[in-house]
Amino acid sequence: MHKRISEYIIETCIRLSGLVVIAFVFLIFLFLLKDSLSLFGVYPVNGFLLGIHWLPISEPPKFGIIPLFLGSLYVTFGAILICVPLGIASAMFIAEVAPPSLKHILKSLVEILASIPSVVLGFIGIIWLGPFLKTTFHLTTGMCGLTGSLLLAFMALPTIISISEDALVGVPKSFKEAAYGLGATRWQALWRIILPSASSGIFAGVMLGIGRVIGETMVVMMVTGNSPIIPTSILQPLRTLTATIAGEMGETVSGSEHYFALFAVGLVLFIITFIINFLAELFLQRTRR
């Protein structure tokens, strides 16, 4: 009888814990929404979503999200241009070209990159990469969008490489063998047969990589110059959605308009990453089938 009761308790815990996971997502959404709505009670939604000035401490304050959104977009786009081709090419090399011993070393190195804390990469950006880019491109400051893009590209690489590599390795061997049987070279088989077959998995990897880039905070706060104006070039200082929250939260009075505005920025980030991850999951499910 005693056994029955303990079993009942543990099974109840197991069932509840599933519920708790759902509850967290709803709680996060709810808390962000609640404080965002407090902003929209006193500040127009249009002015927030379409405003081109982010001036939280001017009189009257302006909370236009466009400069921050464009800042995130510039940095993310720059990072994608670098990390997507590099990531897919490395995944192809690791999956199909490298001999087993080299493959093992390369995969370990990618795992090492994944584990380097972002604040360390930000530090590298301040101490080396920023000054290097400044002298190379004769910029007024090295703390600009490009520095952020380069570092973020590296942060997204492990995600893109490991998921793409899984997708490439997961293509049935018979596909490759059939191609060889028809006289294809290893490259032809890889390019024409394996790569297209793995495309939805690779796409999912790219989406998850982009999700990481948009959500990354410390690196962009440390190296992109923290200037909340509409950027006209990636070589200018700018500021992303994430860096705005991290940089300004400490200075706000809780319950003020500015405080609620930062939650509204958080809500926008939540929605963007939700959509990206949902899409990635759809593509991952397609590969599993």
Binding site: G18, V110, P117, F123, W128, T217, M249, L262
Partner: protein, 282 residues
């Protein structure tokens, strides 16, 4: 045929070059940090408190703070993560509720770390009145680590052959008995590996602890879970951006200690995996 071979050679060369462009900066970055930071690392640096506006002395409180925070995160996230994964793999039926849980896990894993910071601040620091404290920080990091732990545990449970469960059921065991005696013992290695890995990520995170626990400068050890603490990643952020005239050797040395801590945890996870793989018998 020879053009096809030539094309293959060129293509493989390009792929190899791209891989080099990825791998070389990783190696150079690590070497650069270690080379510049190693000379500043001493017993004094590791075991003493910072002095003179953090420009002298050591980082002992930040090391302790980080470790305390990791342990706190483990206490909350490990049971919850493992139980949810057990639910998903062993109990859940394929229905809308289960799909909602899975979607929630995917969504949690994609939420930016700074949004966790915001959430932790409103829920734990303000709403539950925990204040800026170890407890609030550990709870925030726990929710962030949850999806990784659930995914790793799920994979470990799914890797246990289904026949193990069938035999157990056929002997009249209940579902929980089956999970407890026939599935969990064989899934432990995978669970441990994934958990240690997720905690090493949490140890390097800065954004979620910015407003929930991290202290700018607090050169003493915490007395209770309601204390603030200095934390390594935040300390590195502070000394490399907020403190003027900071000797860079101290920043480098702090980066070395932080990387060493994270790598050490990764190493533990790799060793665990190797150790258990040797014992695997099916």
């Amino acid at each position: 045929m020879s053009t096809a071979r030539g094309r293959q050679k060129a293509a493989f060369f390009i792929l190899g070059f791209a891989t080099l462009l990825v791998v070389l900066p990783i190696i150079l970055t690590i070497l650069y940090i270690v080379k510049n930071g190693f000379s500043a690392i001493s017993w004094e640096f590791i075991a003493q408190s910072p002095r003179n506006g953090m420009r002298q002395g050591g980082i002992f409180p930040a090391i302790v703070g980080t470790i305390v925070l990791i342990i706190g995160t483990m206490i909350f996230s490990l049971p919850l993560g493992i139980l949810s994964a057990i639910y998903l793999v062993e109990y859940a039926k394929d229905n809308a509720f289960t799909r909602l849980i899975k979607l929630s896990v995917v969504n949690l894993s994609g939420i930016p770390s700074i949004v966790y910071g915001l959430f932790g601040f409103t829920l734990f620091v303000l709403f539950l009145r925990l204040g800026t404290s170890i407890l609030a920080g550990a709870l925030t990091l726990s929710i962030m680590s949850l999806p990784v732990i659930i995914t790793a545990t799920k994979e470990a449970l799914e890797a246990v052959p289904y026949s193990f469960r069938e035999i157990s059921f056929s002997l009249g065991a209940t579902r929980w008995q089956t999970v407890r005696y026939c599935v969990l013992p064989y899934a432990i290695p995978g669970i441990l590996t994934g958990t240690v890995l997720s905690l090493s990520r949490a140890a390097g995170e800065t954004a979620p602890i910015l407003f929930t626990v991290a202290a700018f400068y607090l050169p003493r050890l915490p007395r209770s879970v309601f204390d603030q603490v200095m934390v390594l990643p935040y300390h590195l952020y502070v000394i490399s951006t907020q403190v003027p005239n900071m000797p860079t050797s101290i920043s480098f040395a702090t980066a070395v200690v932080l990387i060493a801590l994270v790598f050490l945890m990764n190493l533990v996870s790799i060793l665990l995996r190797a150790h258990f793989r040797k014992k695997k018998q099916w």
